[in-house]
């Protein structure tokens, strides 16, 4: 059995330069960005202010209070269907989505929740991207041109309303930037869709991607709806590429997923590439992490394993979302898969205290890095996003957005010293 996949085309545009000016547009390979013209946050009563600023690799800037990273994408075939649900449009199963995507540029929404009095002190760990200095390469977004969207909550606005406004504004900005290319010629066009038949002797491999949705500021969204009641389900990888899965979780930036990860999962790319060569890509399962009780965790793990078995998987790759007891969900899922004879590999980050959880069946692990490792201190010339940014102090790896992401989208890993 294999699931059907939407026929999707991604037209990618290399961006050589991003220039701020009076217009937002596309000129050859230059992206023009006009903050006043963009009027981000207009019509969002929950935001007192929203500003746009371009920050480039090499700038001696530390971006703080970074909530998310978004790849500028637009549905060229139906702009309203970009980031379905959040931006008001809907997904059409019969459509052949054509996405225009900017390479090397990211939208980074920023909001100082604590400064606005919406969360308590120490409630959200610092979230940084350094554009230069010793930690520039700890976050992938130290190497992209970032269009930083700084949002200030309106006084008295409810935190969930502010969050929804920020997410809408960020995704809207991402769409607008990508939409500058609608009449332009792409650098590269890639089609993904139904996979060709492959040698049945190749092992069938599925991916199980863990997400978490625990309430405002710690949610994950599908078509704009939270996933608090998610039970393991099969999803079409094209849905993720097309922006149906978006991030609203802002804690522990180094280890939880961003919208940008979902838009372009390296794991899906790798499995698509390997399909027909070394394996058959059997499908993608979306699974919940941080289930509340030992019993619920076991049920969730069994449900994931049952789906993998339904897909006929001989092997499975499990990702993890963030740290703490989600690692127990991962480990129990590994156990449930192995108990059905499905060979399993899992991706987890490490701490200075070793693994957060482990089961004997988890004998094949990828380390996405040590989240506790201290990165050398740096004093930037400028801080974008508020706060003192821990300037001049050593900072743990976990505070850099995407540094140890357990979907395997990053290059960092840990080795013994």
């Amino acid at each position: 059995m294999s699931h059907t996949r939407a026929d999707l085309e991604i037209a990618a545009f290399a961006v050589d330069e991003v220039v701020e000016g009076t217009l937002t547009g596309w000129d050859g390979t230059t992206l023009l960005v006009s903050s006043p013209q963009l009027a981000v946050g207009a019509g969002e009563p929950a935001l007192a202010e929203a500003t746009v600023e371009v920050v480039r690799p090499g700038d001696r800037v530390r971006i703080t209070n970074v909530l998310d990273a978004v790849v500028p994408d637009v549905r060229a075939d139906d702009s309203a269907a970009s980031f379905p649900g959040v931006l008001g449009g809907t997904w059409d199963d019969t459509a052949h989505p054509r996405i225009h995507r900017l390479n090397g540029v990211a939208v980074l929404p920023v909001c100082d929740w604590e400064g606005a009095g919406l969360v308590g002190p120490e409630e959200f760990p610092p979230s940084y991207v350094d554009m230069a200095g010793p930690a520039q390469d700890r976050s992938p977004w130290g190497s992209t041109v970032n269009v930083v969207l700084t949002c200030a909550p309106a006084r008295g606005a409810a935190v969930a309303d502010v969050d929804a406004a920020i997410r809408r504004s960020a995704l809207e900005l991402a769409r607008t930037l990508a939409a500058t290319t609608l009449d332009a010629t792409p650098t590269d066009v890639r089609r993904v869709g139904a996979l060709p038949d492959a040698d049945p002797d190749l092992p069938a491999v599925c991916a199980i991607v863990q997400v978490a949705s625990e309430g405002p500021l710690t949610d994950t969204f599908f078509d704009g709806d939270d996933l608090r009641d998610l039970m393991p389900r099969m999803v079409d990888p094209a849905w993720l590429t097309a922006g149906r899965l978006t991030n609203g979780a802002y804690d522990w930036p180094g280890v939880r997923n961003t919208t940008a990860n979902y838009q372009d999962l390296s794991l899906v790319r790798a499995l698509d590439r390997a399909h027909g060569q070394t394996l058959r890509f059997a499908g993608l399962i979306l699974a919940p992490g941080y289930l509340d009780t030992a019993e619920a965790k076991r049920r969730g793990a069994e449900a994931s394993a049952a789906l993998a078995a339904e897909l006929g998987a001989a092997g499975a790759i499990c990702t993890t979302f963030s740290s703490g007891n989600s690692h127990t969900d991962t480990m129990l899922t590994v156990r449930a898969l192995e108990s059905r004879g499905i060979v399993t590999t899992a991706l987890v980050c490490e701490t200075n205290g070793g693994l957060t959880d482990h089961v004997p069946e988890a004998d094949c692990l990828v380390s996405t890095g040590n989240e506790d490792e201290l990165v050398p201190a740096w004093t930037p010339d400028r801080i974008v996003g508020g706060g003192d940014g821990d300037a001049g102090r050593t900072i743990a790896m976990v505070h850099y957005l995407g540094s140890c992401v357990e979907t395997g989208d990053g290059p960092w890993t840990a080795v013994p010293v």
Partner: protein, 340 residues
């Protein structure tokens, strides 16, 4: 160079077990083993101390105070201990080291390799391995002094083998040529081909939680303790520390473990209150009440005892396995284990 020294109540000269509850305290200059460190070339500027029990039970508050004093002193390095085989003192040293590590302050400690302080430090401290008891002071002091002076001056420290400290179990981040997802695919395909590779080796001694009791009302429950509870006179001479034996004693029809008949010979805590009522360590009277009420089926007819003081992990593992085998043979369904 400013050096701060952390001690427990005993080594700071504040008292023995009865002072285990001593609040945090700060002195100028060296105290106790700090004088030996000073003589060995590491002058101690400030000594901070805390009772072992005080730290164990009020960890957060003690840390706030100790860390503030250490920061105020402007420490270039902190020495914790030597704590030798002491569990609680070692733990305090390890936790303090971990917190100092997060603040970028180098720490040298000294304890047995089995001490809970090693795990607690999470690799933050350079830990010199010692004997279980104070006799190891003479060997430990020069190594600690040498390491600490060099760390304070920012000198590079060699490997564990070269320098004589325990491997710190640290894992450092490096950039791989491949993304994690690509490595996952490679590892999975290898595993499918029968070749097992992993980037993280499993921890060696974890046990999964056994299945829960299905029917407590029918269960035979055994009492086991490391609190060193034995019949008066300690007839079988359970060692007060560093034991490698465990013992078993019939409970018969006893309703409780009374002070006339039982006592604790554990050398690691103040046994005064426990000796007034040994049920405070091995809760037989309450277990009987539960059996009477039908909450559990029955109390197993003997209890198992040892003293958990300076016990190497390998020895306690063996004792646990041996006791477990006895319990299994006797049809025991569950265990209530008490510790101090």
């Amino acid at each position: 160079m400013t050096v701060v020294h952390y001690l427990n109540q005993f080594f700071a000269g504040l008292g023995g077990e009865e002072a285990a509850d001593h609040e945090t305290v700060r002195f100028d200059g060296p105290h106790g083993p700090g004088k030996a460190l000073t003589a060995a070339g590491l002058p101690i500027d400030v000594t901070v101390a805390c009772g072992d029990d005080r730290f164990a039970l009020h960890e957060a508050d003690c840390l706030v105070t100790l860390l503030a004093w250490i920061e105020e002193a402007g420490a270039d390095v902190v020495v914790c201990g030597p704590s030798f085989g002491s569990g609680r003192y070692g733990y305090a040293c390890g936790v303090l080291a971990r917190e100092l590590g997060r603040r970028g302050t180098p720490v040298v400690a000294a304890m047995t390799p089995d001490s809970p302080g090693v795990l607690a430090s999470e690799g933050a401290a350079y830990i010199v391995p010692t004997t279980g008891n104070v006799a190891g002071m003479r060997d430990a002091v020069p190594v600690v002094a040498s390491l600490a002076s060099r760390l304070a001056s920012g000198a590079v420290v060699g490997s564990p083998d070269e320098e004589g400290y325990l491997p710190r179990g640290l894992r450092a981040n490096v950039r791989s040529e491949q993304l994690g997802a690509e490595r996952a695919l490679d590892l999975l395909l290898a595993k499918l081909n029968g070749e097992l590779r992993t980037e993280i080796a499993p921890p060696t001694d974890r046990v999964a939680p056994p299945d829960p009791l299905g029917d407590p009302a029918a269960a035979r429950v055994a009492l086991v303790t490391e609190a060193g509870c034995v019949p008066q006179g300690n007839p079988d001479r359970l060692p007060t520390r560093h034991t490698n034996i465990w013992l078993r004693y019939p409970i018969g029809d006893r309703a409780e473990l009374g002070p006339e008949d039982y006592l604790s010979v554990h050398a690691g805590f103040d046994t005064t209150e426990a000796n007034r009522d040994p049920d405070r360590l091995v809760p037989l009277d309450a277990a009987r009440a539960l059996a009477e009420a039908g909450r559990i089926g029955r109390v197993h007819d003997e209890f198992f005892t040892t003293t958990g003081v300076d016990t190497p992990v390998a020895v306690s593992t063996r004792m646990g396995q041996e006791i477990g085998a006895e319990l299994r043979n006797a049809g025991v369904d569950a265990v209530i284990l008490t510790g101090t």
